[in-house]
């Protein structure tokens, strides 16, 4: 149990996908302008990360590894994720239209989001069990959510300030991301010490 908590907390704070592993930077810079879209996008990411892990982990363990096909991992995972996202979209549209309305726009974007492919591959590389892998995916998704929501607040403050001309737009956003990421460095080592 303690191990699961450590995995969850370190995925959220220490190995934050956006701010320390640099995965999913495109949505982080693109969709973080408004709080609504930042939250919508991250909830869709959490959802797809969990689904993708639940689908790819058994494929890797029971299909690819026993048949000595480990080298097909990249191709199989990206196809499974792409098909899964399509499937989720169709199912949502048919059965839960209200949810589809709020998350639907973000779903196709997620197929080529490196955070989702990243989490599925990292789960295998780290040698997690199925439960640990799911917890890690949840933590990673929550970390993404936290970074997006925090950063959308930072960005709304930047909007109103006086910025040198050449720094306007993307450069100042990246500098702000640097400072946000600096604050996350402070979490390093906290979780291990907390649970001894």
């Amino acid at each position: 149990m303690t191990k699961l908590i450590i995995i969850l907390l370190s995925a959220v704070f220490i190995n934050n996908y956006v701010l320390s592993r640099f995965l999913g930077i495109c949505p982080f810079l693109g969709v973080s302008k408004k709080l609504d879209s930042a939250a919508g996008m991250s909830i869709a990411v959490i959802f797809v990360m969990l689904m993708a892990t639940a689908a790819t982990y058994p494929i890797q363990m029971y299909l690819l590894v026993p048949n000595d096909l480990g080298y097909l991992q990249t191709i199989v995972f990206i196809l499974v994720i792409a098909a899964l996202v399509q499937l989720v979209e169709i199912v949502l549209k048919r059965f839960i239209p209200s949810l589809h309305k709020s998350l639907g726009v973000y779903l196709p974007l997620i197929t080529t989001n490196c955070a989702v492919l990243g989490v599925t591959i990292l789960n295998i590389d780290e040698g997690y069990t199925f439960v640990e892998a799911m917890v890690n995916s949840l933590g990673s998704g929550l970390g993404f959510f936290l970074a997006m929501v925090m950063f959308s607040g930072v960005r709304s403050t930047i909007e109103g300030s006086d910025i040198p001309k050449s720094f306007k737009g993307l450069p100042i956003t990246l500098i702000a991301a640097a400072i946000t990421s600096l604050s996350f460095l402070g979490f390093g080592g906290v979780v291990e010490n907390l649970f001894g």
Partner: protein
């Protein structure tokens, strides 16, 4: 002449990282040392070259409606090949690039070039375009890695630099330094670039997910950068 133009546009005028702002994840993640940056640049260039050649050769065969999945499978195939080659010939590089090597699959530069260039142009032109874009990607990575390694570690390609080695700023090689140096480089490009690329040349119009993406506001960062100049 035209071929030369095709090649050089990727280096400076339409540099995929610094001007088009594509492929930011590997740029930030693998620019901690010059060797890593060059390795990543080379791997991505090889994948880009192979995928551009094959996609442009097959551009009349692949049905338009299923082109994106086809491209992704092709790209994933080449990435797997490069991954195996790196594992076999340079295990140290494989170790340090880690997860970012398989993640070349979702690098938007590669899918972007397939969609913007290779499916409209001939094999030779596409190959030239791929080499130019790959070189531009590598150049941007090299620049970032040089700055980060020199200031963050006091070394260049592993060779110690006398004064800086004793006074290095370790934060530059860590995550915040990546964002910081990238921000400074783009600001410098904004400052010094004289001929801005035409807006239609890059960004969302060429992106396979332009329509959806525009709704989600994904192109805002790129658009903003272009508008503010």
């Amino acid at each position: 002449m035209n071929t030369l133009k095709n090649f050089t546009k990727g280096l400076i005028k339409e540099n995929p990282v610094l001007v088009l702002v594509l492929g930011t994840c590997p740029t930030l993640a693998t620019s901690t040392s010059v060797i890593n940056a060059l390795g990543m640049g080379a791997a991505a260039t090889i994948v880009l070259l192979c995928s551009n050649i094959v996609i442009s050769a097959l551009r009349k065969v692949i049905p338009n409606t299923v082109r994106i999945p086809c491209y992704i499978v092709l790209i994933a195939g080449f990435v797997t090949m490069v991954q195996m080659l790196v594992k076999a010939f340079s295990p140290a590089l494989d170790e340090s690039l880690g997860i970012y090597l398989p993640l070349i699959v979702v690098n938007c530069i590669i899918l972007g070039r397939a969609e913007m260039f290779a499916n409209k142009n001939g094999v030779f032109d596409s190959a030239v375009d791929a080499v130019g874009m790959g070189a531009g990607f590598t150049l941007a990575l090299f620049l970032m890695a040089t700055l980060r390694e020199i200031f963050g570690n006091g070394t260049f390609c592993g060779i110690e630099i006398p004064v800086l080695a004793d006074n290095h700023i370790s934060i530059m090689t860590m995550a915040p330094g990546g964002f910081f140096v990238f921000g400074l480089l783009i600001a410098a490009v904004n400052k010094f670039a004289k001929n801005k690329p035409k807006k239609k040349d890059f960004g969302c119009q060429g992106c396979p997910q332009a329509e959806v993406c525009g709704k989600a506001g994904c192109n805002n960062a790129v658009k903003e950068a272009a508008e503010n100049d």
